[in-house]
C-alpha cells in the first residue's frame, strides 16, 4: 500500500526559468509535505570573493543575482567603505538610491508578471512585460546597462546622472505610475486572479516570525519590517520611505503589497531627483587596501533583508565574505506553507515568495560535498533545524 504519491516539480521550473526542485508528497490532491532540493546553481561565489581584490569583488558579488544586482553591490560597497573609512559624496548616495529603486520597480513588475503567467493569465503577463521594458530603458540610460548596473565604486559611483537624463526619468515615471495603478486595480478586482490567489498559502504573523521570513512575505503577514526605515543607508534617511504592510498573509496580499511598494519606489525616485545635491559623485582615486576589522552590512533588497558580513585581515583582498540573501530564508524555510494546499497551487505559492534561486544557491556549500540525494525529514526542515537539504 503506497501512502503518498510523490511528484517532482522542477528542476526546470514551471513558472520561473530557474533550477529548483520541489519534491511534493501528495495524499490525493492535497499536499502532505514538500522537500526543497537546490544546488543546481551553486557557483562558489564566496570563495571567489576571497581570491579577488576589493574592487573586482564589487562586480563578482553583483553577479550573484541579476535581478537585484545593484542591491548586492550596495551592500558590499557600503560594508567595504565602512572598513576603509571612506565616505561617498551625498550625490553618489542619491544616484545609488535611484538605481536601487528602479531595480525594485522592475523586480516587482517581473514577479507579478510571472505570477500572471503561473495562473494562466498570459495576456496580463505580456502587458506587464511590455511596460516593464520602459523601466529597463530607464536603467539603461541611467547606468548604461539594462540589467547589470555596475555603477557602484568604492567611494562613489562610476557615472554621474546628467540633468537631461533625470528629466527623461521623471517623464517616463509618470507613465509607469499610471500603469502600476492600473495593474494594481487588475489584481484587486479581477475574478480569475482573486480565485487563484485569495486565501492560498496563508502565513500567519506568528508563523512568519517563527520561520524568520523576510521582506514582502513578512510584511504581507502584518509585520512592519523594512531595513530602509529601521537602519537607513544611502539616501534613505533623507527620503523617508513608508513601510507598506498588509494583514491578510495570503498570496494575493503578497502580490498587492509588491504593487504598493513599486508605487512607493516611484515616489522615492521623484523625491531623490528633486532633492539631489550638486557635486561630483565620481571618486578621483580608488582606495585599494583595507585595515583589519569586520563589518556587518544590511540592505533592503526587493525580496527582503540582504546581509553581508565582511572580514578583513588587512591587505588587498577580503579574508571572508559571508552573504545571507532573502531568498534563502524565504524559500528554504517556507516548506510549511504548502501543507494542506492543492498540487495546482504549489507553483502559485512558490511564485508568491518571489524565489531568486541564484541568490539561494551560493549559500549551500556543504550541500555539494554531502551529495544531494539525502532525504530530509519534512518536520525538521520546517522547524529550520536542517538548513541544507
Amino acid at each position: 500500500m503506497v501512502k503518498y504519491v510523490e511528484v517532482p516539480v522542477g528542476p526546470q521550473h514551471p513558472a520561473l526559468h530557474e533550477p529548483i526542485m520541489l519534491r511534493v508528497r501528495l495524499d490525493g490532491e492535497v499536499v502532505e509535505g514538500v522537500d526543497i532540493v537546490t544546488g543546481y546553481n551553486h557557483r562558489g561565489v564566496e570563495k571567489l570573493g576571497e581570491k579577488n581584490s576589493w574592487v573586482r569583488d564589487i562586480y563578482i558579488f553583483s553577479r550573484i543575482c541579476g535581478i537585484c544586482n545593484a542591491v548586492h553591490a550596495q551592500t558590499y560597497t557600503q560594508g567595504v567603505e565602512k572598513l576603509m573609512g571612506v565616505e561617498p559624496p551625498l550625490r553618489a548616495k542619491y544616484i545609488r538610491t535611484i538605481v536601487m529603486e528602479l531595480e525594485r520597480i522592475h523586480s516587482h513588475m517581473l514577479i507579478n508578471a510571472v505570477m500572471a503567467e503561473a495562473i494562466g493569465f498570459d495576456t496580463l503577463f505580456m502587458l506587464i512585460m511590455r511596460d516593464r521594458e520602459r523601466v529597463m530603458h530607464l536603467k539603461e540610460i541611467v547606468t548604461g546597462q539594462r540589467v547589470h548596473a555596475d555603477i557602484h565604486m568604492i567611494g562613489g559611483v562610476k557615472r554621474d546622472l546628467r540633468p537631461e537624463t533625470a528629466e527623461k526619468v521623471l517623464r517616463v515615471l509618470d507613465y509607469i505610475e499610471a500603469r502600476l495603478r492600473y495593474y494594481k486595480k487588475v489584481f484587486e478586482e479581477d475574478y480569475t486572479i482573486r480565485k487563484r490567489l485569495e486565501g492560498v498559502g496563508k502565513i500567519s504573523k506568528q508563523e512568519a516570525l517563527k520561520h524568520s521570513l523576510v521582506g514582502p512575505v513578512l510584511r504581507a503577514s502584518g509585520v512592519p519590517s523594512d531595513v530602509r526605515v529601521d537602519d537607513p543607508y544611502s539616501a534613505y534617511d533623507e527620503l523617508k520611505p513608508n513601510i507598506v504592510v498588509r494583514h491578510e498573509g495570503d498570496s494575493l496580499a503578497r502580490m498587492l503589497l509588491r504593487w504598493d511598494e513599486a508605487l512607493e519606489s516611484v515616489r522615492l525616485i521623484r523625491d531623490a531627483i528633486k532633492n539631489m545635491p550638486k557635486g561630483n559623485p565620481v571618486p578621483k582615486a580608488i582606495k585599494r587596501a583595507a585595515g583589519k576589522g569586520e563589518v556587518f552590512s544590511r540592505v533592503e533588497a526587493p525580496r527582503g533583508e540582504l546581509i553581508y558580513h565582511i572580514v578583513s585581515t588587512g591587505g588587498p583582498k577580503p579574508y571572508r565574505v559571508k552573504v545571507r540573501t532573502p531568498s534563502f530564508n524565504n524559500i528554504v524555510n517556507s516548506g510549511f506553507a504548502y501543507i494542506g494546499e492543492r498540487l495546482a497551487d504549489v507553483p502559485v505559492i512558490l511564485t508568491s515568495f518571489d524565489p531568486c534561486i541564484s541568490c539561494t544557491e551560493r549559500v549551500l556549500v556543504v550541500d555539494e560535498k554531502r551529495g544531494l540525494r539525502k532525504w530530509v525529514p519534512f518536520m525538521a526542515l520546517s522547524r529550520g533545524e536542517i538548513r541544507v537539504t
Partner: protein
C-alpha cells in the same frame, strides 16, 4: 461606466494604437548612446600600464606585445591590452580606471557570431590615426 463599455473603449484604443514591437532585424534597435557596448583600446593613447588587466573581474584582458614595426614613446614597455569578448562582462571597469582614457567605447551590441572574438584587430587598426576615431 459599465464593464462592457470599458472593454469596448480598451478594444478601440488598441485597434488604433501603433504595435509595440520593434521589428528588430529590419529596423535598427533602440539603443541609447549610454549603452555599454563594444570597447577597445586606442594604441595611440595606451601607455601599457596594465591597470585594466589588474582590475578586470573576469580576467578578460591580456597584455600583448606591440607589433615590432610600431614604436610609441609614451608606451615604454611596448605592451597593450587585448579584450576577449567571450569573457568580458562589459562592466567598463577598464574604461573607468584607465589613466589616459585610451578606451574607445561604443554602443554596438550585436556581437553574436559562430566564434568568439577579441579586440586585437580593432586596436591594431587605430595605429596611425593619431588618436582620432
Amino acid at each position: 461606466m459599465s464593464p462592457k463599455l470599458k472593454l469596448l473603449r480598451e478594444v478601440i484604443s488598441n485597434i488604433f494604437s501603433r504595435p509595440a514591437t520593434i521589428q528588430y532585424p529590419r529596423e535598427p534597435a533602440a539603443v541609447s548612446s549610454e549603452y555599454r557596448g563594444l570597447h577597445y583600446p586606442d594604441l595611440n593613447k595606451c601607455i601599457g600600464c596594465s591597470l585594466c588587466m589588474v582590475d578586470c573581474p573576469a580576467n578578460a584582458i591580456k597584455m600583448v606585445k606591440l607589433p615590432p614595426d610600431y614604436k610609441n614613446p609614451k608606451n615604454p614597455r611596448g605592451i597593450y591590452p587585448v579584450v576577449d569578448y567571450g569573457k568580458c562582462v562589459f562592466c567598463y571597469q577598464c574604461v573607468f580606471v584607465c589613466p589616459v582614457k585610451a578606451y574607445i567605447t561604443s554602443n554596438k551590441f550585436d556581437m553574436a557570431d559562430y566564434a568568439t572574438h577579441n579586440s586585437q584587430a580593432l586596436s591594431l587598426k587605430t595605429i596611425g590615426r593619431g588618436g582620432k576615431e
